[in-house]
């Protein structure tokens, strides 16, 4: 019986399964953004329902693929190597964001640093990098192997999740290209989350709210 099941799995290629997994996680994220955040504005915490479903599924998937936390990127031994790779792209991104922000609306609004929600950014960045690199990047590598194709797929997925905000979609596409490429060289989610945090806070401080529309995505972008 079990042998028959595994034969069925062989028929469904590893590539198809990996793509189906990516699709499933993207759908969960889109449901969170476009359905839960839009229709439960007074009970926003309900957004955790699709997110928890996605996280449970990703954990089960790691078990099915025999992936350890270290393999996924929850590790410290290569933290400095990953930071070295991330340093210049992150600095460059921050400089570009600050220059564009200054050009559009003057110096960064440092008072925005006092917003309590900024304290959540590192945790949120780690969760996003885990889903994007620790899961989607790894599955795109199953489907397409290491290299340009899987890196581009990761970037497209991340950009897709920031629609319909055009500025965020563009920025996240570029950011994900860099992060995905670096993850394939040095899989360290803490370093990626640090880079993500610095970039997000720079965006929130430097760019005018009407340009980034309060970093809103999904239906919330429109209202």
């Amino acid at each position: 019986m079990t042998e028959n099941k595994e034969q069925t799995i062989d028929l469904i290629s590893a590539k198809a399964l990996a793509l189906a997994e990516i699709f499933s996680i993207v759908v969960s994220c889109l449901i969170a953004e476009w359905v839960f955040l839009s229709f439960f504005s007074r009970h926003r915490w309900l957004v955790i329902v699709p997110l928890i479903l996605a996280v449970i599924f990703m954990i089960l998937s790691h078990r099915a693929y025999n992936e350890s936390a270290q393999m996924i990127g929850f590790r410290v031994d290569n933290f400095l190597s990953a930071v070295r790779l991330l340093l210049w792209p992150t600095l460059l991104a921050v400089i570009v964001i600050l220059v564009v922000g200054w050009f559009l609306s003057g110096p960064p609004v440092l008072s925005r640093l006092l917003r309590p929600r900024l304290l959540l950014v590192p945790g949120w960045a780690l969760l996003q990098q885990y889903a994007l690199q620790g899961y989607i990047n790894r599955r795109t590598q199953v489907a397409f192997g290491k290299g340009a194709v899987s890196i581009c797929v990761v970037a497209v997925v991340f950009a897709l999740l920031h629609l319909p905000n055009p500025v965020l979609t563009f920025i996240t596409f570029i950011g994900a290209l860099v992060w995905a490429a670096i993850y394939q060289r040095e899989a360290n989610l803490f370093a990626l989350a640090a880079s993500h945090t610095v970039a997000s806070i720079s965006l929130a401080l430097a760019l005018p709210l009407n340009v980034i529309n309060g970093l809103r995505v999904g239906f919330k972008y429109f209202g």
């Binding site: 189906a20 759908v27 449901i31 007074r42 599924f57 998937s61």
Partner: protein
């Protein structure tokens, strides 16, 4: 955990999400467009008049809006006397009527639609629900309305 189990979880997750989204969609639709509003309207000699009742709260007055040829004309609360409403069993009291005077309209055929205004989402959402059928009418030489749905001599 085998990959066949993972596929089963994948299918289960997809079904669960589909049910979840469908439930939210149906719930939202019922909340935003509840099937409680009933009403009827006609063109009288000088007005568009009729009645509106919210079956979920029959003692409350319904806010109604008039659109003629797709353009907003006026809004009011349906609180005029309509003895035919309790007589037909739609409500216990008769204060559910509305009557809209029309602005100057050009010659020819026109179409009026009367909508019930419904508030949902704790006041963050307002939706319109059409009451009865669209009212087609024309204007005669003296400016009086002729309801095209009624038989004329």
């Amino acid at each position: 955990m085998t990959k066949s189990t993972l596929i089963r979880f994948l299918i289960g997750k997809s079904i669960l999400e589909t049910v979840l989204v469908a439930t939210i969609a149906v719930g939202f639709y019922i909340n935003a467009f509840p099937p409680y509003f009933h009403g009827w309207g006609e063109a009288t000699a000088t007005t568009i008049a009729g009645w509106a009742v919210n079956n979920n709260a029959p003692s409350e007055r319904v806010s109604v809006q008039l659109f003629v040829d797709g353009t907003f004309v006026a809004a009011q609360s349906a609180n005029l006397a309509r003895p035919d409403v309790p007589a037909a069993g739609w409500a216990e009291d008769e204060w559910h009527g509305y009557s809209f005077a029309l602005p100057a309209l050009g010659a020819g055929t026109h179409e009026a639609r009367v909508y019930a205004l419904h508030e949902s989402g704790s006041g963050t959402r307002l939706t319109l629900q059409q009451l009865g059928d669209p009212i087609r009418f024309s204007l005669d030489a003296s400016g009086r309305l002729i309801d095209l749905a009624k038989p004329h001599p």
